[in-house]
Every structure is written in C-alpha cells, then in structure tokens.
C-alpha cells in the first residue's frame, strides 16, 4: 500500500477488493432507487424504532453498501416498517422496499420476495 503519510486502524478499514459485493449488487437491482442515497440520515432521524432502541437504519444500509453483512439481519428485524423514512427521504429512496429486500437477501439468497 502506498504511503500517504497517515494510517488507518485495521478494524476500521474495509478492503473492497476482498469483499463480497454480490449481495449489494443484487440489492441495487431490486431497489434501483437506492443508488440515489446520499446517506444524509433523514431516515434515521425520523425512525420510530430509533426512539426506543439503538436501531440505526442509515448505519445499516451503509454497512450493507460496504459489504459488511455481519449481524445486519438481527438489526433489521427491529424495523416496524411504518414508512416514515420512505416519506422523509429527500432522494426518493424506497426505504421500506430496501429493508425488506435487505432482509430477504441476507436470510435467503435463493428466493427474493419483498
């Protein structure tokens, strides 16, 4: 790796060349509007579940985008699908569809419902 004069702790780095991005690509096919996401966090700010627990939908889909799929499914189960995130999203991302499809892909990659 080239020396840029600074270093990143190993735990915080993502090696994209070694990551399995197939699930993310699959997600983009199912929810094309996700391409528009600018990670502004409006979804998390409006989230109903967020008011009770530390569920963070923005964090979850950011992890998904980086191919870090660990424990995401358990996290996503906390969502109540109420749809506030979809309504506030300034980029028109269909977040409900995104959540259902993320869960579907993480649980069972053979059959896509949602």
């Amino acid at each position: 790796m080239a020396d840029f004069g600074f270093s990143i702790a190993k735990t915080r780095s993502v090696k994209l060349s070694d990551t399995d991005m197939s699930k993310y690509r699959q997600l983009l096919e199912l929810v094309p509007s996700f391409k528009r996401c600018i990670s502004c966090g409006g979804c998390t700010a409006s989230c109903s579940a967020r008011q009770f627990t530390d569920f963070n939908i923005r964090k979850t889909h950011c992890y998904f985008r980086r191919g870090q799929y660990d424990k995401l499914e358990q996290e996503l189960q906390k969502c109540m699908l109420c749809g506030k995130c979809t309504l506030v999203c300034p980029r028109g991302v269909n977040l409900r569809s995104l959540i259902i499809n993320m869960r579907q892909i993480l649980t069972n990659t053979n059959e896509i419902i949602g």
Binding site: S46, F52, L81, K84, L87, V88, R96, R103, I112
Partner: protein, 595 residues
C-alpha cells in the same frame, strides 16, 4: 334401449366426469378449512342464515345483479348466458318429463328434439316448444355479445379485457359452440319431424329432407361432444366459478372468514373468480401507469394454478392495496386479503423482534380518551396539533398515546406479509390501551384506524378523527361557523373503501365549508399513490398516480383540497400549489371563538 343413441355417450360421460371432479375438489377444500372455519361451518350448517344465501345465489349466480349495476351491457351478457342456460335446462327438463310420460333418462331433456320425433301434440307442448326457442334465442344473444366483447371490448364498456390462458380460451370457444350447435341440431330435426318452434322450424324449413337426414347425426354428435369438452375442461378453468360461487355465497352467509394463512376457504374464493376483468379497468396501476400483469385477476389465476411462482410473487407485491378492485369485484371476493396471503414472508417473519418495546410503560388514562396520532401524523404536525386544540376546545381530557415515542399499529407489516411481527405490535398496543383504562380510542390515520377497528379486538369504541369531530358537532359540543371556503374532499382508500366511512367527513366539511362534488368520489375515489401497500413502483410512478388524483380534485376549482389521511395530505402537498389541509385543520380554523 328406448331413448338412447350412441351420440349421447360423450355428454353422459362428460357430465359424470364433471360431477366426480367437482365433488373431489370441494371435499378436499372443505377438509383444508382451518379449525375455526370447520367449527363455524359445523355450528351453522343448518342455521337459518342459509335462507338469505338462497336469494343471493339466485341474484348473483344467475341474474348477475351486481355486475349489471356497474355495467348493464356486461350484466345483460352474463345474465343471458347464465340465467338463459339455467332456464333452458330447467324448462327443458319439465317439458321432457311431461312429454315422455315417465320413460325418462336425464339426457333426454338435453336432446329432446331428437328423441321426441313428433310435432307438438297439444297446446302445452306447443307453448313449451316456442318457449324453448325463445330461451335459446336469449342465450344466443348473450353469446353474440360475448363475441362482440372479444372483438372490441370497448363496445361493452371495458377498456381492457382479461388476457386468457390457452385452456380458458379453449373452453370459451366450446361454450360459444354449444348454443349454435344446439340451434342447428334442433333445426335439422325440425326439418325431419316438424317439431321445432318459431326459430328452429324457420331455419329447419331452409334444409331439404335429404340434406337434413344426412346432417342430423353429425350435428347432434358434435353438440354432444362439445358439451363433453365443456364439462371436462370446466373444473380446470375459469368456468369453475359457475358452481363454486354458490358454495362461496353459502359459506360467507354462515359466517366463514379467511384467516392469515391460505386455507380451503381461499381455494373456494380463487375458484369463484370468473376472470371477468372488471378489476383491470379499476386498477390505478393500469389506468395511470399501463401495468397490465399484476391485477387481481392474474394473481388469483396464478395462485389457483400454483404456477409461475415468480409471477405470483411479482404480481403479489406490485399493488397499492387501494381496494379499488375489491370494490369493483362482482363476486365480492376479499381480494385484499388474498393479496396479503400471497405476500406471506415465511421464514422472514420472526417472532419476538420487538423485545425493546417491553420497557414502554402505560399511562393511567381512566376517564380520558386515548388519541393515537399514528406514525404518519408525526410528519404532518398540523393534524395532531389541531386535534389537541379540538380536545381542549370541548374540555375533553385526553391521553396522546404516541406523543413523543410512537409504536406502529402493525398494519404496514401485515400488508407486507409479516403476520407474526404485526401480531407482536398489536399485542403491545392492546396491552397499553387496555391497561390505561381509556374509554375511547381516536386516531388520525386511516391505516391505524383500519388496524384498530378490524385487526385489534378492543372493547372500547375506535373512532377516526372525522367521526369524532362529526359526533362533537352533532351533539353541539363543538361550535363551528360555516365559512365561504370552497373545498373538495379526497376519500382516503383505507378510510373510504376500506372502512366505509364516507358520510362523516362530508358532514363535517359541510358544517365548516362548502363541499364541492368531484367526478370520482366515494367508492370511486382515486388513490394518492403513496399508499404503503406498494413497495415496487418508483417515486416517479407514484407521482403519476398522484397527479391523476389531483386532477380530479382540482377540476371543480376549490380553494382548499381536504383529506382525512396524513399520507394523502403529504402526497398532494408536494404536487400542487393549491392549499391541502386535513379536515381537523379546517375545523380548527373555523371554531367559534367565544365558545
């Protein structure tokens, strides 16, 4: 053997096959009923509730009253074929019973003109002969209309007819063949035996005796074979609805309902669909977006045939749950429920997802009303603020259940097929409401309202805020003044078609403003496109649907567009420069100040 000829064999065998297959299917489906449905059926099987079912069977299976009310040309077409054919069989059976004086086999009624080779002997026989011809003409007029509909469905008031499968097409042609073949067979027999009525004898006189005796056997054989084809195909095609609808009406009358999973009752519903295609024209996805393969008729067909697994899923999820098709369906099939069943999430639907809600405490609300704004109302604070103003104006103590932390009602999950997860949220909310001791539940969101009203089993009254405000105004507790504002009202899908609340919002609006009529209102109101039911269509497509609804609302030129749903309000607000307000907000603006 008397009254027998080999050509009746196809008909006899076909009718036996039909009976056996239908019986097998029905018995199997009834055994697939769940515990509760079986119990209800056993308890009510001989109850008096059966009586109104007979009337409905007659009206809907034969006369097709509901379809006539929507479209009289289609109604005539269905009635002439169904009721006409029924009478043809019924009157034919009486005629042959009288004519044969006891030497009666059931096929004789169908092929009476072949077996009864003498001209009408007396007045009664003459009247029957003419009557049978008249009935045949009646049925033929229906077949002619069906043919016209096939060529150009617009002539019969349908923009788009169903695209049928090969089997459905085959049986349609066999049905269309039956009556012209019967006409021809009876006509050639009339040439030979002079036993025809005004129609068959006239046609029969065109044939010479030689030609007629040559054609007689082939025609009657073809007629018999065509009946056989129709009977054998019937249980596997859309015409299964002819018999199944009778059972469905009976089951509904004795109180059977569908539950969250597919049971035998759904099988009856699926087979009761005649694939008439009325749901296609009604669907906003077709009307505004031109999507033609996801409508209820196709979903039901795929579910019934259990084929095209991918298509079932695709069709199942691409739906707004706007209830338009369910409103339009002449068989009154619970289409929204079937759609929900098709979305069942299976393994994804996990129990105990919401452990974090355990900590939420209830509130002592004895003597108060509980107000549930709903998730969406938190994005339109104008509605919740107005409701609080109204509570204060009438001196009603209230408990704002979800003022700063809102638990979803569970309906959005249920709509997407997460039954267990939805049930968990319902249990939590029920606990909160019951332990609070509140005397009434008022909600501002039609989605929550539907959920509390239909899916929760609460012992206290559940009111949508428009109902509540209307009650306050009627009791004289809330003093409002009538402004000269011109408003149009948008019926939200879940509130209107879903729960049948049409009058209360209108009464409230008439008390505070001048309500204008729109072209599509009440049952025919258009969806705002933002409905949570659909997770497939894009924002742009939703916008197209919304614009169609907006055009309808702005056409009369109102000052304000009124709705009763936070979601519809939000949808319209983004799409128009006109004022969009909730009913509660309009009421608050027109409160009598000194009251």
């Amino acid at each position: 053997m008397e009254n027998f000829s080999p050509f009746v064999l196809p008909f006899v065998l076909g009718s036996i096959a039909l009976l056996v297959i239908c019986l097998y299917k029905y018995v199997r489906w009834i055994r697939q009923f769940d515990r509760l449905q079986q119990k209800t059926l056993l308890k009510n099987i001989f109850s008096i509730k059966f009586l109104p079912a007979i009337g409905e069977m007659f009206r809907e299976c034969l006369l097709h009253i509901r379809i006539s009310k929507k479209n009289w040309r289609l109604g005539y077409m269905h009635r002439s074929i169904a009721f006409g054919w029924f009478l043809l069989i019924f009157v034919g059976a009486i005629e042959s019973r009288i004519g044969t004086k006891g030497h009666f086999h059931y096929w004789v009624a169908i092929f009476y003109r072949y077996f009864h080779q003498v001209p009408p002997e007396n007045h009664t026989a003459w009247v029957f002969t003419q009557l049978m011809d008249l009935l045949l003409l009646y049925v033929l007029s229906g077949v002619f209309l069906a043919f016209v509909k096939k060529i150009k469905s617009k002539l019969l008031g349908m923009n788009r007819a169903t695209k049928h499968t090969l089997m459905d097409k085959a049986i349609r042609y066999s049905l269309w063949g039956i009556f012209p073949l019967r006409l021809l067979s009876e006509s050639v027999s009339a040439t030979l035996y002079h036993n025809g009525g005004f129609l068959t004898q006239t046609i029969g006189n065109l044939f010479s005796t030689n030609v007629a005796s040559f054609l007689e056997m082939p025609f009657w054989t073809l007629y018999s074979i065509d009946l056989c084809v129709f009977f054998v195909l019937l249980p596997f095609t859309r015409y299964m609805h002819i018999f199944t609808e009778v059972f469905l009406i009976y089951f509904r009358k004795v109180g059977l309902r569908e539950h969250t999973k597919m049971t035998g009752f759904t099988k009856f519903e699926l087979s009761s669909c005649s694939r008439c295609g009325m749901c296609i024209d009604a669907c906003p996805l077709y009307k505004d977006l031109g999507i033609t393969d996801v409508q209820s008729v196709y979903l039901l067909r795929n579910l019934r045939n259990l084929e095209h697994h991918k298509d079932i899923i695709a069709a199942g999820k691409n739906c707004l749950i706007c209830h338009r098709c369910a409103e339009e369906c002449p068989v009154n099939i619970d289409l929204m429920n079937i759609r929900r069943i098709s979305r069942d999430k299976g393994d994804l639907d996990i129990v105990n997802s919401y452990k974090y809600l355990q900590k939420v405490q209830s509130f002592n609300a004895i003597g108060r009303v509980a107000y549930f704004g709903g998730c969406m109302s938190h994005l339109t604070p104008g509605i919740t603020e107005s409701m609080q103003t109204i509570f204060k104006a009438v001196g009603q103590k209230y408990w704002f259940m979800d003022e700063d932390k809102s638990i979803c009602c569970g309906r959005p999950l249920l709509q997407q097929g997460f039954n267990n997860q939805a049930a968990e949220l319902r249990r939590k909310n029920t606990d909160l409401i019951v332990s609070s001791g509140a005397q009434m539940l008022i909600t501002s969101c039609p989605i929550c309202y539907t959920s509390f009203k239909k899916e929760y089993k609460l012992s206290i009254p559940v009111l949508h805020h428009t109902e509540y405000i209307n009650m306050l105004i009627e009791k004289g507790m809330l003093k409002v003044k009538k402004s000269d504002l011109k408003v149009t009202y948008h019926d939200p899908c879940e509130l209107g078609r879903g729960c049948g609340i049409y009058q209360e919002p209108r009464k409230v609006l008439e008390a505070v403003a001048n309500l204008m009529k729109t072209k599509n209102e009440k049952e025919n109101s258009l969806c705002c496109g933002m409905n949570l039911g659909n997770t497939v269509i894009s924002l742009e497509q939703q916008t197209t649907i919304r614009n169609a609804a907006l055009d309808n609302l702005t056409a009369p030129g109102p000052d304000v567009i009124a709705t009763a749903c936070p979601m519809c309000k939000k949808a319209f607000k983004h799409g128009t420069t006109a004022n969009v307000k909730d009913i509660a907000e309009i009421v608050v603006e027109n409160l009598e100040k000194n009251a």
